[in-house]
C-alpha cells in the first residue's frame, strides 16, 4: 500500500470514531439508533485503523501525517511508525471486538442511563488512545493523554449513583494527574534542552545531555508512565477503577489504556534517551518483578471477579516490564540479539495480554450482567446456563495462565528464553539476577494458574450459589460474537505464533536495530527457537495437534474395545447428608486460604468472629464473621501521604483569608516577581 491510502485510512478511522461520538451526542434520545449507529461506526473505524496500522508494520514504512491547523495552536502531526502502529493495531483489534460486544451490552443498560453520552466518551477514548500512540510531538501527546484520562474518568464514573464508583473515579483522576504532572515536567525539561517539542528532536538532543539530566528525565518519565501502566506501588487506582467501570470499558482500559504507559516507557527508553545505563534496565526489571508477584498475590484472594481481573492486569504489566527491563539491560551491554529476543517477548505479550484480558473482562461483563453480582461466591453453575460465555472465559483463563498451546504460553516461553539469555553476560550481578527473575516468573505463572482455576472453578462450575446464578441466561449474540472473536484470536496467536513473529521484525529493527524472526523461526515456519542453534525449541501448533491426538487416543481405544459399560448419573458423595447443596461447596475464600496462610507475612490477614449465644457457646444464636487482608500500600503509603498533604494544605489556607485586597496584593507581587525574572534573563 502506498502512502496516501495509509494516511487516508488512518484519518478516515479517526473520523468514523468521531462520528460515532457525535451521533451519541446528537441523537441521545433515540437509544436504539445511537446504540446501533455508534457501535457500527466505531467498529468500522477500528477496521480502518487496523488496516492502516497493519500496512505500516508490514511494509516497515514510516508515514507522517500533518494537518494544517490554525486553531488551538496545536501542531497536529501524527507519525505512523511500526512501534506506534503496533499499539494502534492492538487498539483496533480489541476496539473492534469491544464495539461488536457493546452492541448487545449497551442494551442491558438501565433505561435512565444516557447511552448517547456513554457512546460519546467511548469514542473519545478510542480517538485519544489512537492519538496518544501516534502523536509526533509532545504537545499533541500531552493533549491526547489528558483527553484520554478525561474520557476514561467519565466512563469509570458512569454508574455515579454508587458511592464506590465515584470514589474510584476520583482516585483514578488524582493518580492520573499525578502521573501527568511528572510527564509534563519531563517533557518540558526535555523540550527545553532539545529546543523543540518534536519527538524526532528528542532523540538527537538526548545525546548531548549529562548522565544526571538523562537519569532524572528517565525517572520522571518512568514514574509518569508507570502510573498508567499499573506498576506497583503507583497502581492503587487500577483495582478501584477497572471494576467500577462498565465491563466493555474495563476491557478497553485493561487491554489498551494500561499499554499507553508501556508504550511511553518503550518510547523513552529505546527512542528518546538513547542507550540506557545499566541501572535503568535493572530498575524496570525489579519494578516489573515486584508488580508481577504482588499483583497476582492480590488477585488470588480477591472474591470480586472484575477486581481480580484488574489485579491480574497489574501482574501482566509486571511481566511485560520484566522483559522490557531485560531488553534494556541487554542493550546497555551491547547485546542487540538478546535485546531483540527480550523485546520480541515483551511486544508479543503486550498484544497477547490485550487480547486475553479484554476477552476475560468481556466474559466477566456478560456474567455480571446475568448474575447481577461481581462476587464469585454468588455465581457458580454458569457453565450449564451460559455455556458459550463459560467456554470463552475458559479459553481466556488458559491463555492468561500461560498454558500451552495458547498465546500466553508462547510469550511466556519467549520471556524465559530472554531471561535465561541474561546468564551469558559478564557481570556476575546480572548473571544471578536473570535466572532468579526467571524463577519468580515461574512463581507468577503458577499462582496465576491457581487464581484462574479458582475464578473458573468457583464462578462457573458445580452448583449455582445464588438464585440469580440459578436463573442466569446466556449473553446476547453480539456479545458472544465479540468474545468468540477474541477467543479465536487467543488460539490463532498461540498456534500461529511463528507466522506472527515476523510481523514484529520492523518494530524490533526500529528499536534495537536487529531482526528476530529469521533466528527465532525454524523448520519452515513451524518451530520457534531461542535463537542459538542448539538452544530451546518449541512448536505450539505441533504440540496442539499432538495433544488433540493423544487426548483422543484413549477415547478411540475404549470405543474399539467393545464392551458394555454402563454410565449412570448419580449424586455427588455428600458424606451421607441429605443431598448436596451449594452450602457444601468449596468457596473462593477457602480455595485461596492455604496461599493466604503461606504468604501471611505479606497479606497480614485479619479476621473477626462475634458469636452471640444464650446458653452455651456451642449453641450460638448468631455468628458474625469478617475477614480481610491489610491493604499495605494504602495504609503505609497513601494514607500517610494524603494526611500530610492535607495538613500542609490547611496550613496554606491562612493566606486564603477571603479578603479581595490581599488577593490583589498577591497578584501584584507575583507580577512584579515575574517581571523582574523576565528582565534578568
Amino acid at each position: 500500500m502506498n502512502q496516501i491510502p495509509i494516511s487516508q485510512a488512518f484519518l478516515g478511522g479517526m473520523i468514523l470514531y468521531a462520528a460515532a461520538g457525535l451521533i451519541g451526542l446528537i441523537a441521545a434520545r433515540q437509544r436504539n439508533l445511537v446504540r446501533i449507529a455508534a457501535c457500527a461506526l466505531a467498529a468500522l473505524g477500528a477496521v480502518l485503523e487496523g488496516v492502516a496500522s497493519f500496512a505500516v508494520i508490514k511494509d516497515a514504512h514510516e508515514t507522517i501525517i500533518s494537518i494544517p491547523s490554525g486553531a488551538f495552536f496545536l501542531p497536529y502531526t501524527f507519525r505512523l511508525d511500526p512501534l506506534s502502529c503496533y499499539f494502534n493495531l492492538a487498539l483496533a483489534v480489541v476496539g473492534l471486538a469491544i464495539s461488536i460486544y457493546s452492541f448487545g451490552y449497551l442494551k442491558s443498560f438501565d433505561s435512565q442511563k444516557p447511552v448517547g453520552v456513554f457512546c460519546f466518551f467511548y469514542s473519545l477514548l478510542l480517538i485519544s488512545l489512537t492519538a496518544v500512540f501516534t502523536a509526533a510531538n509532545a504537545v499533541l501527546f500531552l493533549v491526547a493523554w489528558e483527553l484520554m484520562a478525561l474520557a476514561a474518568y467519565f466512563l469509570v464514573s458512569f454508574d455515579h449513583e454508587k458511592d464506590e464508583t465515584r470514589r474510584a473515579g476520583i482516585l483514578f483522576f488524582i493518580m492520573s494527574h499525578a502521573g501527568t504532572g511528572a510527564l509534563l515536567v519531563a517533557f518540558l525539561l526535555l523540550g527545553t534542552w532539545a529546543g523543540s517539542f518534536d519527538f524526532s528532536a528528542f532523540h538527537v538532543a538526548s545525546q548531548t545531555l549529562t548522565p544526571l539530566q538523562r537519569g532524572s528525565l528517565f525517572l520522571l518519565f518512568f514514574l509518569g508512565f508507570g502510573v498508567k501502566a499499573g506498576m506497583i506501588p503507583v497502581h492503587v487506582w487500577l483495582p478501584a477503577a477497572h471494576p467500577a467501570a462498565p465491563s466493555n470499558v474495563s476491557a478497553l482500559m485493561s487491554a489498551i489504556l494500561i499499554k499507553t504507559g508501556i508504550y511511553g516507557i518503550l518510547r523513552i527508553a529505546f527512542d528518546f534517551l538513547g542507550i540506557p545505563p545499566l541501572w535503568w534496565g535493572l530498575l524496570v526489571l525489579a519494578a516489573g518483578t515486584v508488580s508481577a508477584i504482588l499483583g497476582v498475590l492480590y488477585a488470588l484472594i480477591e472474591p470480586d471477579l472484575k477486581r481480580m481481573l484488574a489485579y491480574s492486569t497489574i501482574e501482566n504489566a509486571g511481566i511485560i516490564l520484566m522483559t522490557l527491563g531485560g531488553a534494556m539491560v541487554f542493550r546497555s551491554y551491547d547485546r542487540p540479539f538478546l535485546a531483540a529476543i527480550a523485546l520480541a517477548a515483551c511486544l508479543f505479550h503486550i498484544f497477547n495480554h490485550a487480547v486475553f484480558k479484554s476477552l476475560l473482562f468481556l466474559s466477566a461483563g456478560a456474567v455480571v450482567h446475568a448474575t447481577e453480582t461481581r462476587n464469585m461466591e454468588r455465581m457458580g453453575g454458569l457453565i450449564r446456563r451460559m455455556p458459550l460465555t463459560a467456554l470463552c472465559f475458559l479459553v481466556g483463563a488458559i491463555a492468561i495462565s500461560g498454558l500451552p498451546p495458547l498465546n500466553g504460553f508462547v510469550s511466556e516461553w519467549l520471556s524465559y528464553q530472554a531471561l535465561l539469555g541474561g546468564f551469558g553476560s559478564t557481570l556476575s550481578l546480572t548473571r544471578i539476577v536473570f535466572p532468579i527473575a526467571g524463577s519468580l516468573l515461574a512463581l507468577t505463572g503458577a499462582l496465576a494458574a491457581a487464581c484462574f482455576v479458582r475464578a473458573f472453578g468457583i464462578g462457573f462450575l458445580a452448583l449455582p450459589r445464588s438464585s440469580q446464578a440459578t436463573h442466569a441466561h446466556e449473553a446476547h449474540p453480539s456479545m458472544l460474537a465479540g468474545m468468540g472473536a477474541l477467543a479465536a484470536l487467543c488460539i490463532a496467536l498461540g498456534l500461529g505464533a511463528t507466522l506472527w513473529l515476523p510481523l514484529l521484525d520492523p518494530l524490533v529493527v526500529q528499536l534495537v536495530n536487529n531482526k528476530v524472526s529469521s533466528n527465532l523461526v525454524l523448520a519452515g515456519g513451524l518451530v520457534l527457537s531461542s535463537g542459538s542453534p542448539k538452544g530451546g525449541t518449541v512448536a505450539p501448533a505441533v504440540l496442539a495437534g499432538l495433544l488433540v491426538l493423544l487426548t483422543l487416543l484413549p477415547g478411540l481405544l475404549l470405543a474399539f474395545w467393545r464392551r458394555r459399560r454402563r454410565t449412570v448419573s448419580g449424586p455427588t458423595w455428600d458424606c451421607g447428608l441429605p443431598g448436596l447443596t451449594e452450602d457444601n461447596e468449596y468457596t473462593a475464600t477457602a480455595f485461596s486460604k492455604p496461599l493466604r496462610m503461606i504468604f501471611a507475612a505479606f497479606y497480614q490477614p485479619r479476621r473477626e468472629i462475634q458469636t452471640e449465644f444464650e446458653v452455651s457457646a456451642y449453641y450460638p444464636t448468631s455468628i458474625r464473621f469478617e475477614s480481610g487482608v491489610e491493604p499495605a500500600f494504602e495504609t503505609h503509603l497513601y494514607t500517610p501521604l494524603k494526611d500530610r498533604i492535607l495538613a500542609r494544605a490547611s496550613r496554606l489556607r491562612t493566606i486564603q483569608a477571603g479578603s479581595i485586597h490581599a488577593y490583589l496584593a498577591y497578584i501584584f507581587i507575583t507580577l512584579v516577581v515575574l517581571l523582574l525574572f523576565g528582565v534578568r534573563s
Binding site: P404, L461, P554
Partner: protein, 313 residues
C-alpha cells in the same frame, strides 16, 4: 517424518508399559520395607485393566469439564513423555518442545484436574484442588531454578541437547551445582508426585489428602485414565531426574542394540531412584500442610545455591 512417527510409537508403548510398573515397584518395595508382603508388582496393571472394563457413575452436578479432564490429563502426560529422552539421547519429539514445554504441559493437565475436582461440587474436590494448586505454585520456582541450572550448563532448554551435554561430560554429576540441583529437583519430585512427606498416595477419605481428594468422584475408565496419567507423569519426572543428571547408558542412536542396552540401564537407574523414594517415604512422617512450604523453600534455596555455584566452581 516416518522416523519420528516410529520413534514416537515405540516410546509411547514403552511409556504406557513402564509407568504402572514403576508404581508397582515402589508400592512393593515400600510394603517390604514395612514388613508387609504387598500386592505384587503387577497390581497397577490389574487395577487399570479392571477399571477400564467397568462402568462409571458421573455426578449429576458435573459438566463437560469433568468428562474432558481424564483425557486431557492422560494426553498431556503422554505428550510430555514423548519429549523426554528415555533410552536414547534423542527423544522423538524433543524438537517440538523442551523442558519449559514439559513443565507447562504438566501444568495444563493439573489445571484441568483441579477444575475437575471443583466441578463435582463436593467439598473434598475443592479442598484437593486448592491444595494441589497451592503446592504446585510454590514448587514451581524451585523446580525452575534447578532446571535452569542444568539448562545453563547445557546452554539449551531442549531435553535432547541437555542429555547430550550430560553424556559428553559423564562425571559432571559430581559438580556441586549438579548435586544441589539434583537435591532440589528430588524434593520437587516428591511434592509433584504426591508422596510422603507432602501427600500420602495410599489414603482415601482423609482430610489430609490432596491428589486423591480431586479424584474422589471419578470411577471406571475415567479413573483409570487419570491414574495412568499420574503414573506417566511420575515416570516422566523420574526420567528427567535420572537422565539429565546420570546419563549413563543413554544410547546415542535408535539402533536396536543401543536401545536394548539403554533400556537395561534406564530401568536400573529408575529402580535406584525408586529405592530412594521408598526410603524417603518410609523414614518420614507426613508433614502438616503448612510445613510443606518450608520443605519447598529448602528446594528453592538448593536451586539458588546450585545456580550460584555454577559460576563459582
Amino acid at each position: 517424518m516416518i522416523e519420528v512417527l516410529v520413534k514416537s510409537v515405540i516410546q509411547l508403548i514403552l511409556l504406557l508399559l513402564v509407568a504402572p510398573l514403576v508404581t508397582g515397584i515402589i508400592r512393593t518395595l515400600k510394603a517390604r520395607l514395612q514388613t508387609r508382603r504387598g500386592p505384587g508388582i503387577g497390581q497397577p496393571y490389574r487395577d487399570l485393566f479392571k477399571l477400564l472394563r467397568k462402568g462409571m457413575v458421573i455426578p449429576n452436578t458435573a459438566s463437560w469439564i469433568f468428562s474432558a479432564t481424564p483425557y486431557i490429563v492422560f494426553g498431556t502426560a503422554a505428550l510430555v513423555g514423548l519429549m523426554i529422552p528415555m533410552t536414547a539421547t534423542d527423544a522423538p519429539l524433543s524438537l517440538f518442545g523442551g523442558v519449559l514445554a514439559v513443565v507447562y504441559l504438566l501444568a495444563l493437565g493439573r489445571f484441568f484436574l483441579a477444575l475437575g475436582g471443583l466441578d463435582t461440587g463436593s467439598s473434598f474436590g475443592g479442598l484437593g484442588s486448592s491444595r494441589e494448586m497451592t503446592i504446585s505454585a510454590i514448587a514451581e520456582p524451585a523446580m525452575m531454578l534447578a532446571i535452569f541450572t542444568v539448562a545453563l550448563s547445557a546452554n539449551s532448554t531442549n531435553l535432547s541437547e541437555m542429555a547430550r551435554s550430560a553424556v559428553s561430560q559423564s562425571w559432571r554429576f559430581l559438580a556441586p551445582s549438579q548435586i544441589l540441583a539434583f537435591s532440589g529437583l528430588f524434593i520437587v519430585l516428591i511434592a509433584e508426585t504426591g508422596r510422603i512427606p507432602v501427600d500420602n498416595p495410599a489414603t482415601h477419605l482423609e482430610l489430609t489428602m490432596i491428589h486423591e481428594a480431586m479424584l474422589l468422584e471419578y470411577s471406571g475408565p475415567y479413573l483409570a485414565l487419570i491414574e495412568w496419567g499420574a503414573s506417566i507423569k511420575q515416570l516422566v519426572l523420574m526420567t528427567l531426574l535420572v537422565n539429565t543428571f546420570f546419563p549413563f547408558g543413554l544410547s546415542s542412536s535408535w539402533m536396536v542394540s543401543g536401545l536394548s542396552l539403554g533400556l537395561v540401564f534406564y530401568l536400573l537407574k529408575l529402580l535406584l531412584l525408586a529405592c530412594c523414594i521408598v526410603l524417603v517415604e518410609t523414614t518420614n512422617a507426613k508433614l502438616r500442610l503448612f510445613r510443606v512450604p518450608e520443605l519447598l523453600a529448602v528446594a528453592f534455596i538448593l536451586g539458588a545455591l546450585a545456580l550460584i555455584s555454577t559460576f563459582l566452581f
